[in-house]
Amino acid sequence: MTPLLRQCLLHLAEDHHSLEDYEGGVPRWCNGCGDNAILAAVQRLCRGEDLSLEHTVFVSGIGCSSRFPHYMGTYGFHGIHGRAFPIAEGIKMARPELNVFVNTGDGDCCSIGAAHWIHAIRYNMNLTVLLHDNFVYGLTKKQASPTSPKGLRSNTTPRGSYLDALNPLSVTLGVQSASFVAQAVDWIPQVLYDIIAAAHRHRGFSFVRVIQRCPEFMPGMLDPWLQDPSKTLLLTHENGLQLSPELARIYKNHREHDPLDIDAARRLACTDEEIPVGILYRNPEVPCYEELRGAGQARPADRIRASLEAELDKFTVWPASDERAAA
């Protein structure tokens, strides 16, 4: 028997998946919510890449967007508020071969989870991070989040918020070891898909901020951009986003941007009027923490026990030495 035939036989039972295989529960998001678009794009990506269900994990914190793992047919971990990153990092360290996605909202990531976020960027572990940014805490019925626009009247800011919004892109680009930063909008599905696909293929911490609509608590906020395609700046490049003729016809405002140019990426991240959409920065050379640390080694129970014993022994006062001391 040739090795080739044997390999074929061994791989006989490999599956090919349809989009339905990646569907979990029925989404409870509001109609018109941008989370639906992100879910559809991610499920298409899983099908496109034929990701194995049992080798794919979605990790989230708390918030509307963090219900995401429930709606996927893969493994998932609906974590606690702001702690999606450490959980995902733990999974990656233990099982580096898994496809690990993080779904986090603007409150979850940029407020309570901000410290984890900063260090997750530094670690540059191979995670695909989707920041669902709808500028508001929706699950708690309209409270101001760090990315809420200045002046937003909400349950926590009845006189309007006092501070300028935090910019997740410029923060990410300011952290050492940032390796992939992109921005998408939920209402251009093709571009959303392309950006998430590029993020997934990038080996490292791929941070995608997805600007999304919240028709319930922020109605009309994004209408100017929805109604006027020229206010959306599409960043194209041979190593970045490429537009179909159809999209190029609708979105005439596009610009060549080299994803290796971090200075230009930082300038673009701070653009106010237009929403830059595309891959702002990508550097495949940044090392991944899990590779630096040789993650994924088997940890059988007896080895764990031996390590624990060795650690505990450091602090043990041995009876024999007591006796010797007493003698």
Partner: protein
């Protein structure tokens, strides 16, 4: 007249080997003129002795003492005059170590260092590595090859244990999870055992057991799957191929690990045959474990395959997971060696050649030198040939051969066990390489698509020449300095061996003439011209006096044969120097291919928007953002396609009002209601007005 008679006698000696007249037999020690400066090897810094470094992998497993001392001084001795004292002391220690080892001292570097320079024990502490010292003697090849083989096997063992550990862990996890879900796993005592001791008393495990038994779904392992997993685990745990790794889950096997070192080809083959069923069983268990660990084992598809699994199912990659057999034999087992290598078994065969000019078959010892060239014809056998003097320089090739996933021949000229030369073994071995008596070469079947890439003789000195040239510097009769480029030939190598003294005759200096010519020039003459000339070789005696020795015809015949063999190797190994390589259409590199694939994958899908009939409702499906607005209004009229983007499934499944409201609620404005299909629908006028904005 007298001169002519002398020449006749020289020719007579050359043809018959019978001395006479002014010719004197070579009865005192002589050495090739080019080796004159190398009297006291211990005083020279060169590659030997080497340190066979413990627990090192790659090239670092064989280190030269000189290189280690250089590293030590680079880090430990200050630059310039300040560090001069330290350097001098350490060099003295190095010289002493070299002398001790040459005299037969054995031990590790740290031991011998302590004996050679007790006062410099502190410096020895800074040496980064330690291991047995090995000088270039007739045992070197065996020691170095065994050490390098151990290093490669250690690396293999690490990978093997990592694989096995992972699979054992994965299979154990499956069984453990099954136990937790099973009836016994939910009994109070099992729950208590799994809980730990700290708050054990505060829990009611009976209640917990009742609750769990009622609520959690039971999903027990099917018996055939359990049997399959347990069998595979058992096989993986009691493997005898490598030593059990310390601290792993592998059970200490009751039976000792297999032995993989042999001194005869037949014993190695018998051992391989005997263990083959165990290998088959193990590979089968690993394949099953891989599938089970991934949850991809499908009984209906895989059972039949594994039932028929036997030795024919094994690939070379499978065998490469296991230790290689190391077989060390002498050069006279050539036939058995070729049989063994051609069988394709995972063997590494060391063939040592002790004597190239054995009296019983005088001439270049063809069988041994041709052995390595012969196995090249087997195509997939890695062949490496070297002299013991060049083993350190060529250690990378040696390691490549030992790592090769297939049979490998290592052919080494190791020098005679009983000294037959006044030269140190290192010089004798180096002379064999220099004189083309035992050329070095490497044939790596994996190195490239053609012979020019797979075969290399570049490791030989001045490989493009027939004989390597070196400058000989001496003072002539009038004490004037003379520098000549002279070749080092097979005849120079023969000079080193006392047993061949009878093939030489010394010409007194007063009878030196132009009628005798150097060996290389004589070999280049036409046979007709050569008959009238006599070849000579330059040597020095114990007092470094230059002498000319006449060489007899039998030795010259061997030299000619040796040159022809060398030409054969040159043709193979230096093909790239002579033949203009045909233009190669480069296959796209991996990076380029990836980029292309990425570009293709990232290229936007063709956004084909069906041209709508004039009055029919339609949706720009590729722009749909899946927001559920339209499907929320009427999920029989609006539906999602395979990409989860909306299209109009049935325009008659709802009203025109549904269409207009969906168009109004669609935030990306991709729904076009068209014209009303039911003219009697109430409120149509108003709806048509509202729909105008969406045409």
């Amino acid at each position: 007249m007298e001169q002519t008679a002398e020449i006749q006698r020289h020719i007579a000696f050359h043809l018959t080997g019978a001395p006479g007249g002014d010719l004197e037999p070579v009865d005192s020690a002589v050495r090739p003129a080019l080796l004159a400066p190398y009297r006291e090897l211990a005083a020279l810094r060169y590659d030997y002795p080497v340190v066979l470094v413990d627990d090192a992998t790659d090239e670092a497993c064989i280190c030269s003492l000189t290189a280690l001392v250089d590293d030590l001084l680079r880090e430990g001795a200050p630059r310039g005059v300040e560090g001069e004292g330290v350097r001098r002391d350490v060099f003295r220690a190095e010289r002493e170590i070299r002398r001790l080892v040459a005299e037969g001292e054995r031990g590790t570097l740290s031991d011998v260092w302590a004996r050679a320079a007790p006062a410099l024990a502190d410096a020895a502490d800074h040496l980064k590595v330690d291991g047995a010292l090995a000088d270039c003697d007739h045992e070197l090849a065996r020691r170095v090859v065994a050490h390098a083989w151990h290093s490669v096997q250690r690396d293999k063992a690490r990978r093997f244990h990592a694989d096995v550990d992972r699979l054992v862990q994965a299979l154990s996890d499956i069984l453990r999870a099954a136990f937790v879900d099973s009836e016994p796993g939910r009994r109070p005592e099992s729950l208590q055992a799994a809980f730990g001791s700290l708050h054990r008393d505060q829990f009611d495990f009976d209640t917990m057991s009742r609750l769990l038994s009622r609520s959690a779904p039971r999903d027990e392992l099917p018996p055939d799957r359990r049997h399959r997993i347990e069998s595979a685990l058992e096989v993986l745990r009691r493997q005898r191929f490598f030593d059990p790794a310390p601290g792993t889950t592998l059970a200490q096997s009751a039976e000792p690990p297999f032995e993989y070192r042999y001194s005869s080809c037949r014993a190695a083959v018998e051992a391989f045959r005997e263990r083959l069923p165990a290998v088959v069983e193990f590979v089968k268990a690993m394949s099953i474990a891989e599938l089970e660990a991934d949850g991809r084992y499908v009984g209906s598809q895989h059972d039949a395959f594994f039932e028929a699994f036997d030795e024919n199912s094994l690939s070379r990659d499978d065998l490469a997971r296991f230790p290689d057999y190391l077989v060390c034999v002498q050069g006279d087992e050539s036939g058995a060696v070729i049989d063994l290598l051609s069988s394709g078994l995972p063997v590494k065969v060391l063939v040592e050649t002790e004597d190239l000019l054995a009296p019983e078959h005088f001439g270049v010892h063809l069988r041994s030198t041709q052995l390595a060239s012969t196995v090249i014809g087997l195509i997939d056998v890695f062949a490496f040939q070297a002299t013991s003097s060049s083993l350190y320089q060529l250690r990378e090739h040696l390691l490549a051969g030992l790592r090769y996933a297939g049979p490998t021949l290592v052919s080494v000229f190791s020098g005679p066990a009983a000294p037959s030369s006044d030269l140190p073994p290192y010089l004798l071995s180096a002379a064999a390489l220099e004189g083309r008596a035992f050329p070095a070469f490497t044939y790596d079947p994996q190195a490239g698509p053609d012979l020019a890439l797979r075969f290399t003789v570049d490791e030989n000195p001045q490989a493009e020449l027939d004989w390597p040239l070196a400058p000989l510097e001496y003072a002539d009769a009038s004490l004037q300095r003379v520098v000549e480029q002279i070749p080092f030939t097979l005849v120079d190598f023969a000079v080193c061996d006392r047993r061949y003294a009878r093939h030489f005759a010394r010409i007194p200096p007063e009878h030196w003439s132009d009628e005798t010519v150097p060996v290389d020039q004589w070999l280049a003459l036409d046979p007709a011209d050569a008959e009238a000339r006599v070849p000579h070789v330059l040597v020095v005696d114990d007092n470094d006096r230059l002498e000319r020795l006449i060489v007899d015809a039998r030795l010259m015949h061997a030299a000619r044969r040796c040159r022809e063999l060398w030409h054969g190797l040159q043709e193979l190994g230096l093909a790239h120097l002579r033949v203009e390589p045909a233009p190669v259409h480069e296959a796209p590199s991996e990076a380029v291919e990836e980029a292309v694939q990425e570009a293709v994958a990232e290229a936007p899908e063709q956004t084909v928007v069906e041209a709508p009939a004039a009055d029919d409702p339609w949706i720009e499906t590729p722009r749909c953002s899946t927001c559920n607005e339209c499907t929320g209004i009427n999920d029989r009229m609006f539906a999602y396609n395979d990409n989860k983007q909306a299209y109009i499934k049935d325009p008659d499944a709802g009203t025109f009002r549904d269409l207009v409201e969906a168009a109004e609620s669609c935030q990306v404005a991709v729904i076009h209601p068209g014209k009303p299909r039911n003219p009697s629908e109430p409120g149509l006028e108003e709806l048509v007005e509202r729909a105008k904005g969406f045409h």
